[in-house]
């Protein structure tokens, strides 16, 4: 049951960071984001004897300054540490979820709106899938699928951070996916980009 206590706990454990340009000026700049490489996440310990853990890296926009020297405009990226115990492949936990979508152009400097969607998805055989620790406001439209969408006005970046989402089944979860989509509004036009990664377990 989603009691008031649980809701408060959830809000405290997970946090949604949406950075407007003014707020983030001292924290992250467009050039800093464009130069951002892989995080130290890739060096985290993994024990192949006991687990099927994977870092999921969503780096669709890693080459945001393409040949020809034109400035990169739009980016969606993120990471999540997927934990699947070798002998408990009925549970997949996406931990340390972090994603960001950003408009990196400068005319205009900000998009009118940044709509940011995280999508976690798992495949199982056989059986039903339950989801726990989902972010407030997220929705599940089909078994094993969870969408978390937020939007921010007059900004160039939106960032999501969520400690963990867990998918559980009575059977075996064999594939896990994490997708991040950014839709950027300029007047009456919207551009959409998606970054993806998945792991077989």
């Amino acid at each position: 049951m989603d009691t008031a206590y649980n809701r408060v706990k959830k809000l405290m454990r997970g946090k949604l960071l949406v950075w407007a340009k003014e707020v983030s000026a001292g924290v992250m700049t467009k050039s800093a984001l464009s130069e951002q490489g892989s995080s130290d996440a890739a060096n985290a310990p993994m024990n192949p004897q006991l687990d099927n853990n994977h870092w999921l890296h969503l780096r669709e926009s890693s080459s945001i300054t393409p040949p020809g020297g034109r400035t990169g405009e739009i980016t969606a990226n993120g990471e999540s540490y997927l934990q699947v115990r070798f002998f408990q492949r009925n549970r997949a936990t996406f931990t340390k979820n972090s994603s960001r979508v950003a408009w990196l152009g400068d005319s205009p400097f900000n998009a009118d709106k940044v709509i940011h969607t995280d999508n976690w998805r798992v495949d199982a055989f056989p059986g039903a899938i339950t989801i726990s620790n989902a972010p407030d406001g997220s929705i599940s439209e089909q078994p094993g699928d969870l969408q978390w969408q937020t939007e921010v006005e007059n900004s160039w970046i939106s960032q999501h951070s969520w400690d963990e989402v867990t998918f559980t089944t009575s059977a075996v979860l064999y594939r896990s996916r994490f997708n991040v989509t950014g839709a950027f509004q300029f007047g009456s036009s919207f551009f959409v980009v998606t970054a993806r990664d998945s792991a077989s377990t």
Binding site: Q142, E153, G187
Partner: protein, 555 residues
């Protein structure tokens, strides 16, 4: 409101099955594959964004509607008319506008009242919001709303007209407000005479020229393309003449192949390419048509699941004698795309990679002996894992199905039998239908009636009623009840035990099926608005009581 339909069972006509197959069939003319959920409005396999912009490219370049069928598009796009297709990544206002435009482009009627209701939910006074949760309205969303209202002949609220006129009369163009000004000009262009002279023509012309000057000094990027194209369309509607964009000014955005790709994206962006064509950027060309179905362009999740969907769909196609229509393109897809990808990703060996391989073997066997042999040669069935532990029942099942569909040497069979025998002896007390499944597959591979008896015994522990089973139990005490019923387990149990009962009717009585679909559990049935191809294949074969054909279909 949902009505109680627990005792209705699927009655899907051959015509409905053919329609679903054709709507699910994605092809580029040479290769092809199926996607699941082509008639789902909650989570369709098609991309709203790609479908609209690819269609607009086709229309611009004289390719018509690229073979899209109005009814096929209508079958999935309804959720966007309600602004409830979050899987598109687009906010509600863009969903409505994209859906209305897409339907218009393919010549399908748009449900005006449905659109009006959605727009009403998004309206705040004299403006519209991107979504119901947005803090305040904005002119970009309002421009979209007005465009839809004009397109559909819906009334534009007088407060919207008045607020837009007031804003146009008081607006000055600054770089920071450029998008707003262009949106207001779009509203004025759409409203035309409805503005009733509330904004002098020279004011509108002045704003158009000021916006054009501001844009001409801005850096060229995707937003520049969109704003320029929007401004020029609005100017044309307002009969204000501005110079065309210089072809060389945006040529740096055009790739070597003549399309425009957003940074980091794996394929050209159809919207940016469309705007580049409209603006006449030097070097831009119409990209070749990418793979799509008659219902739309697939999204990434649908493509990722297409091997399993295709294996199951070919079983469905056989039921209605349409399989020959798809076999050749699926063969090309298998040889040119899936097989090389699976050879590349063959290790590490995981349940996921095993499932991909099993699905491809099942598909290849349905297409023909030559392809099945080539797949077997390219992806030799791996040695069977030596483990009978709990969740590894799935790995054992997949290994054995792989073995059953390959041409193993006598030594491989001997080794496999030894591992199976050890796994049978090491079985725990808790029953599992997946274990029953691998016992049955093993009994067929080794022609061993004892293994079949073990499979039947295992299944009986989980039988709720003839044809109805639970997947597993955490206790050996008592029998499972109907609330534990699982469609996958019931499929496997029926395949092993071959009851004389009408199992689809039994599944419906247990709440797993209704008139047009079945789901893994009764709870899932409430949430799903379509059924996967694998479930449809199971239902169709079960309705013929061909219980020997219902497993394995695809994973």
């Amino acid at each position: 409101m949902r009505t109680e339909r627990t005792h209705a069972w699927p009655t899907i006509s051959a015509a409905e099955v053919r329609t679903l197959l054709l709507d699910s069939w994605v092809t580029d003319g040479r290769r092809g594959f199926f996607v699941d959920g082509a008639h789902s409005t909650a989570n369709p396999p098609f991309s709203l964004y790609d479908t609209l912009w690819q269609l607009r490219l086709c229309q611009r370049c004289g390719q018509g509607t690229a073979g899209l069928s109005p009814a096929s598009v209508q079958a999935w796009i309804g959720g966007a008319l309600d602004g409830r297709m979050d899987s598109s990544g687009l906010p509600a206002i863009a969903q409505v506008e994209y859906a209305a435009q897409t339907l218009d482009l393919v010549g399908a009627p748009v449900d005006r009242q449905r659109v009006a209701r959605t727009l009403d939910r998004l309206r705040r006074g004299g403006g519209y919001c991107t979504s119901v949760s947005a803090a305040q309205p904005d002119w970009g969303s309002t421009a979209l709303a007005v465009r839809i209202q004009v397109q559909l002949g819906l009334p534009v609220p007088s407060q919207v007209v008045a607020d837009a006129a007031q804003s146009l009369n008081s607006h000055a163009v600054a770089p920071a407000s450029l998008a707003q000004v262009i949106s207001l000009l779009q509203i004025a262009g759409e409203l035309g005479t409805q503005l009733g002279g509330a904004v002098p023509a020279q004011t509108l012309a002045g704003l158009v020229h000021a916006a054009d000057r501001t844009l001409s000094g801005a850096r060229v990027d995707a937003a520049w393309l969109a704003l320029n194209a929007s401004l020029r369309r609005a100017a044309a509607q307002l009969a204000v003449t501005i110079a065309p964009v210089s072809p060389g000014s945006c040529t740096q955005l055009v790739d070597r192949d003549g399309s425009v790709t957003l940074p980091g994206q794996p394929a050209p962006d159809p919207q940016a390419t469309f705007y580049s064509l409209e603006l006449g950027c030097r070097g831009v060309r119409t990209p070749p048509l990418s793979a799509h179905s008659r219902a739309g362009w697939p999204n990434h999740n649908a493509v990722a699941g297409s091997v399993g969907a295709s294996a199951a769909a070919m079983r469905v196609a056989r039921e209605v004698r349409l399989d020959c229509l798809f076999a050749n393109a699926l063969q090309h897809q298998t040889r040119e795309v899936w097989l090389p990808a699976m050879q590349h990703e063959a290790s590490p060996r995981t349940v996921g990679t095993q499932i991909d391989q099993v699905n491809l073997r099942i598909l290849a066997a349905l297409i023909g002996e030559h392809l099945a042999r080539d797949v077997d040669n390219a992806l030799p069935a791996p040695a069977i894992s030596e483990s009978g532990e709990g969740t590894n029942d799935v790995a054992m099942l997949l290994d054995l199905i792989n073995l059953a569909q390959s041409s193993p040497s006598p030594q491989r069979l001997t080794d496999a039998k030894a591992i199976v025998t050890a796994a049978v002896e090491g079985r725990g007390a808790l029953p599992s239908l997946v274990c029953a499944a691998w016992l049955e597959v093993a009994s067929q591979i080794f022609s061993d009636p004892n293994l079949h008896e073990r499979a039947v015994a295992e299944a009986r522990h989980l039988r709720i009623a003839p044809g109805l089973y639970a997947a597993s139990r955490s206790t050996t005490a008592g029998a499972p009840d109907a609330s534990e019923a699982s469609l996958t387990a019931s499929t496997i149990g029926t395949w092993i035990e071959r009851p004389t009962t009408d199992v689809v009717r039994r599944w419906a009585e247990a709440g797993l099926c209704t008139e047009d679909r079945c789901a893994e559990t009764a709870k899932d049935l409430e949430r799903l608005d379509s059924m996967p191809m694998a479930t449809l294949a199971t239902v169709l074969a079960s309705q013929r009581r061909a219980y020997g054909e219902i497993f394995p279909i695809a994973f």
